[in-house]
Symmetry: C2
Subunit: 390 residues, 2 copies
DNA sequence: CTGAAAGCGCTTACAG
DNA sequence: CTGAAAGCGCTTACAG
């Protein structure tokens, strides 16, 4: 917005109490404010202008107004123009509630997440939601935010969004194997897509990042640097994509070592900074000979680095650390974090797109996988002058 | 959810294609699935059950059903019971669209933010939104997410949410002085609250953190540590709360020094990690004698620490750094960041609460300020064996 | 304490 | 190409 525009808007909207500031400009603008052509939006309490008013002014029926509103080709250009002018003149804005009630859809979708406290305070969800919202806006869908609680699931209220006609479709984020309620949506015929997780046991529509491919790149890179004693901080074992990363870790390391890596090289980090910090502590207390750590997400990686710093072990000289996700601040950690980039924003965009196409009748199965790639920064180095085997 | 529950839900919802897995359990459960008493939610395409159906079954009028639904005291306990049973039996769910159209409100609010790309990928917004959503859920309001673009403002479409009856009120986050459109809401009589910023020039309702108080604590702490040559990385100059922090910095430092600190001790960091990193670079190139830096938010502080690390200047030994916000990862930075805690989650909660009370008729002005406090961690130390004045 | 009727503001067959 | 009428599924005076 140019400053000029701002001032104009301000002047139009300013309250009497503050109107004395800068009288020159205000006078100028306010004389133009009640101009003939300017739309007069209904104040609350005042009567909303409806199709009827428009119809009267344009000398047509309400039906015709509605058809014009919906770009029906059946209306002659001349009446169309007349109707549009009337709408303009009255500042007519179609009531979406009424439209929704008549049509059979709402042009609204919901983002559904588990009610972790401070759920959105997380870049992980933030990126996904950003992508969803941007795409939804482009497709002229509105988006609702819905937190699903254990209690709401138990009472089967998670279907309310559909049953009470709030939305046409739902995008589910942050779910794991415990969330059997997800299957209720397809079972009832309601459009749903699982975002950035998938469920082999339920065969749900989903859009995910390629965690397996990313983990392979990360492990290969560590191998190339000469690392063999590699620990892992795992995320939730109830999330398939998290298990995928562990599987790759186990398989590739097993191949390189010639035998399965010991289970004690793995620790659960709960997907949090604190968890990652604690896990790193347990891991290195038990196995000081580890030269590298793969973490299931960046938050755990940052927690691990925090521990290592405090414990006086230098990253990457003593221990290399690799994260997963490439959150915005990974690049600004000390040292900057080597991590697998997951295109979460794009996952959001694509899932929104797919959901809308499903809503609009497309019945293809949705199994989208977006590529990931390793981003090498400064938290990894050659496995070097390291402690002898303990 | 207990595992048992999950399994039950799964079984109910499972598709034929996958139904062969674990036949024993499925058989058990599926025989119970079509039980008599269970509600039969309308499938899409199938007829939705309406007040009329309930009325018929309960042998009353639609009016009565509606009154029961709205807990009117005018209905006798006996018919009330009868109607409720009918609703239960039919799995009746009131259509919210129809309710909204009849009533004069929607029980929906919108969170409005500027369309920064990846807007939500930020803990700052995340905390606020979490607070808003939690409170809204408790108050039985739904929340919509709306990104406002320069284009939508120019076409005055930001009022659409009200004019087209999407929402009853709006919460505006992330705005600055350029966003004159904010005044349009109160001017049109629409409930709006500015969240975590305020606008002396427009006198809008708002809920904010006490940035001034927080900045005073931070500066006093630095003074106590012996710092005098303190640089500042500023946020946007178009945001009042950001200006408040700069004002405190200038005023208190001026008092201590006996004269205004040089303008060259300040640099703009654009509220981002990268900006903070660059600003720190410019600042210390010009003024290597600075012993401390106050940053307008944590992201800039982390950027500054990243620069200092790279430049071989140790935090806090050589340079102390103080942030603002206390984002979740501040505690896990290396070193852990000393910062001013801003209760963003609570700001979200309170603004939602105030908005709803405004919607429900309360006309008091809203000027809420929530206390902030300094959190001392490891990025600050005594101004010690430092370079002589240059 | 309960019901018949009108209305919320659109859309959609149907008829012409 | 256009309109009268019914309908979406509720709520709300109003009457009794």
């Amino acid at each position: 917005l140019a400053p000029t525009n701002d001032k104009l808007e301000l002047a139009l909207a300013v309250r009497p109490a503050t109107a004395q500031a800068d009288p020159g400009e205000l006078a100028l603008v306010s004389s133009g404010a009640p101009a003939e052509g300017s739309p007069a939006p209904a104040l609350p309490g005042g009567k909303q202008v409806s199709v009827r008013e428009v119809a009267r002014l344009a000398q047509v029926s309400a039906t015709t107004v509605s058809l014009v509103l919906n770009d029906s080709p059946r209306i002659s250009p001349s009446t169309q123009k007349r109707v549009r002018k009337a709408m303009e003149q009255l500042g007519y804005r179609p009531n979406r509630l009424a439209q929704n009630l008549s049509r059979r859809y709402t042009q609204m979708i919901a983002i559904m997440l588990p009610s972790l406290s401070h759920a959105f305070a997380d870049r992980y969800f933030g990126e996904l939601i950003s992508g969803i919202c941007d795409r939804a806006a482009a497709l002229d869908y509105k988006v609702m935010l819905e937190q699903v609680t254990p209690e709401s699931i138990e009472r089967r209220r998670h279907l309310d969004l559909f049953e009470r006609r709030f939305v046409d479709g739902v995008l589910c984020l942050g779910n794991g194997d415990r969330h059997g309620f997800l299957t209720d949506f397809p079972a009832a015929g309601y459009p749903m897509i699982a975002v950035n997780n998938y469920f082999p046991q339920w065969d749900l529509d989903h859009v995910v990042c390629d965690y397996t491919g990313g983990a392979e790149q990360a492990m290969n890179y560590l191998f190339q640097l000469g690392h063999r004693r590699i620990g892992m901080i795992t995320g939730s074992s109830r999330v398939q994509t998290a298990r995928d990363v562990v599987d790759v870790y186990q398989r590739t390391l097993g191949e390189v070592l010639g035998e399965a890596p010991p289970a004690t090289w793995r620790e659960d980090g709960l997907f949090t900074e604190q968890g990652g910090m604690d896990a790193a502590g347990r891991l290195l207390a038990r196995h000081p000979e580890l030269t590298a750590i793969l973490a299931g997400n960046d938050k755990m990686a940052l927690g691990a680095m925090h521990y290592l710093n405090q414990a006086g072990r230098r990253v990457p000289h003593d221990v290399s650390v690799v994260g997963f996700d490439d959150m915005n601040d990974a690049a600004f950690a000390n040292p900057a974090l080597t991590t697998v980039h997951t295109p979460l924003y794009q996952v959001g965009v694509l899932s929104c797109e797919k959901l809308v196409s499903r809503i609009q009748g497309n019945t293809d199965r949705i199994r989208s996988v977006l590529a990931t790639h390793l981003v090498v920064r400064n938290s990894t180095a050659m496995a070097g002058a390291v402690t002898p085997a303990s």
